[in-house]
């Protein structure tokens, strides 16, 4: 009997000791998690500040380069020969390109971090609004047809980025002399909506289909671009619970399918 009691006491004490150890290590772990979270938040804030400062400071000299190149072109006027004019144009083009790279890279890093609250969006109205504000999407520069589109559950700013990039590409990547013809249509499947942007451009070889969605990957050096647009499109679509796919072959245009959530899917 005494032995049994002693054994029980021993067990109880052991359990208490173990519980105490567990509590202590929980407290330690808690502290460590808090520490690490704080450190992570700090470095995130530093990173954000860094990219912001870099952007600001990098763009200032570019503004000056573009400005002075244009000013020189104006001041010298006819006194400049064709070669000289070409050099100045190249300075301006290079500065503009750098500026685009910086702003695009910044939009990308923002979209990775930012909250994208979702709400029902009339994607058709959004696209018509974009078409109305840019002459590049209107005749005679381009023909864009938009079929009736379903309402989607998305972030309006995110959708604007997606479709401005896809439309911009659709009218840009055409052979010289061809008028871009873009068709936009959509379909409901269960729980999601697919919107297709279809063009009559140069098309993309199948082996490039995955690469075009990666950062800084460009399809052709003959067309101006930063190689960020489609990476941005994919990242935004994924962050809104969707995705993007490409069907294309060289010379046959592109079909970009953007998958988005349908409004009812949110409640279900």
């Amino acid at each position: 009997m005494i032995e049994w009691v002693a054994a029980q006491c021993g067990l109880v004490m052991q359990a208490r000791r173990l519980q105490g150890e567990l509590e202590r290590s929980n407290v330690l772990l808690d502290g460590e998690v808090q520490d690490r979270t704080a450190r992570l938040q700090e470095s995130l804030a530093e990173l954000e500040h860094f990219s912001y400062t870099i952007t600001h400071d990098l763009r200032a000299p570019l503004r000056a380069m573009q400005g002075f190149a244009a000013l020189l072109g104006e001041r010298l006027g006819d006194g400049l020969d064709r070669e000289g004019r070409d050099y100045l144009d190249r300075i301006g083009t290079a500065a503009r390109r750098m500026d685009r790279l910086i702003t695009d890279a910044l939009s990308y890093s923002r979209i990775v971090r930012e909250e994208l609250p979702l709400a029902p969006v009339d994607v058709g109205a959004l696209i018509h609004g974009m078409l109305a504000s840019y002459p590049a999407f209107q005749p005679p520069a381009a023909v864009v047809e938009v079929a009736p589109l379903p309402v989607v559950l998305a972030n309006e700013a995110g959708l604007t980025q997606i479709f401005s990039n896809l439309l911009g590409n659709a009218v840009k990547f055409v052979p010289a002399g061809r008028v871009p013809h873009v068709r936009i249509h959509g379909e409901r499947t269960d729980g999601s909506v697919r919107v297709c942007v279809e063009d009559n451009g140069i098309g993309i070889a199948p082996e490039m289909h995955e690469r075009v969605f990666q950062m800084f990957q460009r399809v052709s050096k003959d067309y101006d671009g930063t190689g960020i647009g489609l990476a941005l499109v994919r990242k935004i679509a994924e962050r809104m619970g969707g995705g993007v796919e490409l069907e294309s072959a060289p010379g046959e245009g592109c079909r970009f399918w953007v998958t988005l959530r349908a409004p009812e899917a949110a409640e279900g």
Binding site: A60, R63, F68, L71, E74
Partner: protein
């Protein structure tokens, strides 16, 4: 003919100041443009402290054009300091920044900026800014 309005341009980029002066000339808008290169100098100018104590030589501006990213004191700090003073409550302050971040725009608005103008990507496009200032009746 009345004297041209005084504009205080708070800007640390000398090239931007160059193009702003150029833009006023091109747009044929007469202005007495005063420049200071950082936020602390802007405060000293407005407060009439050294080296700007002589108001006859350093007149109070009719409008302030304010960059945000500045040495010593930021544009936000200048804005906050200025709006806390009754004598500058009605002074038009146009923020002129290369930041398109919505939070910067909101913060500037909250602190009392009259307008928020995005810096064009080329110095030679500053004319747009001058036209905007003229359109709003600031110069």
């Amino acid at each position: 003919m009345s004297a041209p309005p005084t504009l205080l341009y708070v800007e640390d980029e000398a090239d931007d100041v160059f193009f702003m002066r150029e833009a006023f000339v091109r747009e044929r808008v007469a202005v007495d443009l005063r420049e200071v290169g950082d936020g602390a100098l802007a405060m000293a100018y407005l407060a009439g402290e050294a080296p700007f104590a002589d108001r006859a030589r350093h007149p109070l501006p009719d409008v302030v054009l304010l960059d945000l990213n500045l040495p010593r004191r930021s544009g936000f700090e200048v804005l906050e300091w200025l709006r806390a003073r009754a004598e500058f409550a009605a002074l038009p302050v146009v923020v002129f920044s290369s930041s398109g971040r919505p939070e910067d725009r909101e913060r500037a608005g909250r602190l009392g900026a009259t307008e928020y103008v995005l810096k064009p990507s080329s110095g030679l496009q500053f004319n747009v800014v001058v036209r905007g200032l003229r359109g709003a009746g600031f110069v």
